[in-house]
């Protein structure tokens, strides 16, 4: 009777913090990888890897990697203890730990509230939770709309329903971009 009833809080990263964004309406959200799940390779917190890391399965990384990470068709999750100093190429990337390096993800990048990312992001969708530290550039590459084929008559008018849709339709991100930061130029 006297006990104050506390509201239940969502655990870990399961609840989305205020200020996160990036899920396009009507599109299914990709699996959230907060902890290793079966079918996912797991690198523990005591593991240090220097060199090129590549594979064709999802990876949960809670250790340290220096070099590069290539998972072109799979997801990478950097756990809260994960420390990465590497360029990352993957389908989807979820970060809870620290990453220094550029990220190229074909689908989405998600920074949880404990994430510290120094590097640029090139992807289709980005989600950054309140509290995440991010230093770098974000280049959102929208999926190009399919070009009209010969069998399809050209539409007389294109109705733009939202700002995001108009950005994709106008190909804003495919327009020539300014020079990369000095840090990126040095790497190349």
């Amino acid at each position: 009777m006297w006990k104050h009833k506390e509201e239940e809080q969502p655990e870990g990263g399961a609840g989305r913090a205020q200020g996160s964004f990036g899920v396009a309406p009507g599109r299914p959200e990709s699996p959230r990888m907060t902890a290793p799940v079966s079918g996912t390779a797991h690198i523990g917190r005591s593991v240090l890897i220097k060199g090129e890391l590549s594979g064709s399965e999802d990876l949960y990384l809670d250790g340290t990697v220096e070099g590069s990470i290539e998972l072109p068709g799979n997801n990478l999750s950097v756990g809260p203890n994960g420390r990465v100093r590497a360029g990352i190429r993957a389908r989807g990337v979820v970060i809870e730990g620290k990453v220094e390096g550029d990220i190229e993800a074909s689908e989405r990048v998600e920074l949880r509230k404990t994430a510290v990312l120094t590097g640029s992001i090139v992807t289709q969708r980005v989600s950054i939770e309140d509290g995440a530290y991010f230093k770098g550039g974000v280049d959102v590459k929208r999926q190009a709309a399919p070009a009209p084929t010969a069998t399809q008559p050209p539409r007389p008018e294109v109705k733009r329903e939202s700002v995001a849709a108009s950005a994709a339709a106008s190909g804003g991100s495919s327009a020539p971009l300014p020079k990369a930061p000095l840090a990126e130029q040095k790497k190349s």
């Binding site: 009777m1 006297w2 104050h4 913090a17 205020q18 200020g19 996160s20 964004f21 990036g22 510290v116 120094t118 980005v126 989600s127 950054i128 939770e129 309140d130 509290g131 995440a132 530290y133 991010f134 230093k135 770098g136 550039g137 974000v138 280049d139 959102v140 929208r142 700002v163 995001a164 950005a167 994709a168 106008s170 190909g171 804003g172 991100s173 327009a175 020539p176 971009l177 300014p178 020079k179 990369a180 930061p181 000095l182 840090a183 130029q185």
Partner: protein, 232 residues
């Protein structure tokens, strides 16, 4: 019985305010909203242009990144004020006092190719930044902005004391921003920084600060904030 329990709860918690409002989180505070004429002017100036590049040097705001990426812009986010509190940039001056080494700071921050950006969002960074860094940072902004590039900055009009609240600004429309109170921040090396209002610029100071820029436009708001839109 419920009212007795409520009264006891009030007694031990020191009032009813905690009953109504949830306990404040250290970083995620409730937001308030304000109209921003400077942001409106900036939005109108950028409208209709594709492939723009925007730099936000305030505390990381997911909303700002979303706002600009949805417009098809490329966005760079860099919390310059938080970075300036990193103790690795501290050095001893001639008198033995600790001071920020601006050369080292600028070697590792705001390190972009010249004329990269079409716009930069400074928010009220200059009011809270250490004195030795203010002018070098504004000069660096000049160099990384394209000719005609715009800077949006906010300044306090009255000295609200060193404990004036420090906000993270979230764009919430073409001429509206949401203010989220930030009590402290942690830099990359884990050092915690409290935000203290360092100074109050008057119009003459602001003009001097941006004297290398082409022109400057002031917007005086009702909440003792002076908004400035500067053109390179």
């Amino acid at each position: 019985m419920g009212s007795v329990a409520q009264s006891l709860r009030k007694l031990f918690r020191g009032g009813s305010s905690s009953e109504q409002a949830p306990a404040p989180q250290p970083r995620a505070q409730a937001r308030s909203s304000r109209r921003s004429s400077g942001l409106g002017e900036l939005t109108r100036a950028l409208a209709g242009r594709d492939g723009l590049c925007v730099l936000d040097i305030g505390p990381t705001s997911p909303d700002n990144i979303q706002h600009f990426t949805e417009l098809g812009y490329k966005v760079y986010s860099e919390d310059v004020l938080l970075a300036s509190r990193d103790c690795q940039y501290l050095t001893a001056d001639a008198e033995g006092k600790q001071a920020v080494d601006e050369k080292r700071f600028l070697a590792e921050n705001l390190n972009y190719a010249p004329q990269t950006f079409d716009a930069a969002l400074c928010w009220d960074m200059a009011d809270y930044m250490e004195e030795p860094l203010v002018k070098p940072v504004v000069a660096r902004l000049w160099s990384v902005l394209k000719p005609g590039g715009l800077v949006l900055a906010f300044f306090h009009t009255k000295d609200a004391g060193p404990d004036a609240p420090f906000y993270r600004y979230h764009i919430a429309g073409t001429d509206n921003v949401e203010l989220q109170l930030l009590s402290a921040g942690s830099s990359r090396n884990g050092s915690t920084a409290g935000w203290r209002l360092q100074r109050v610029f008057n119009n003459r100071h602001i003009e001097n600060l941006f004297r290398d820029y082409a022109n400057i436009k002031f917007f005086l708001a009702r909440d003792n904030v002076r908004e400035v839109l500067v053109k390179r």
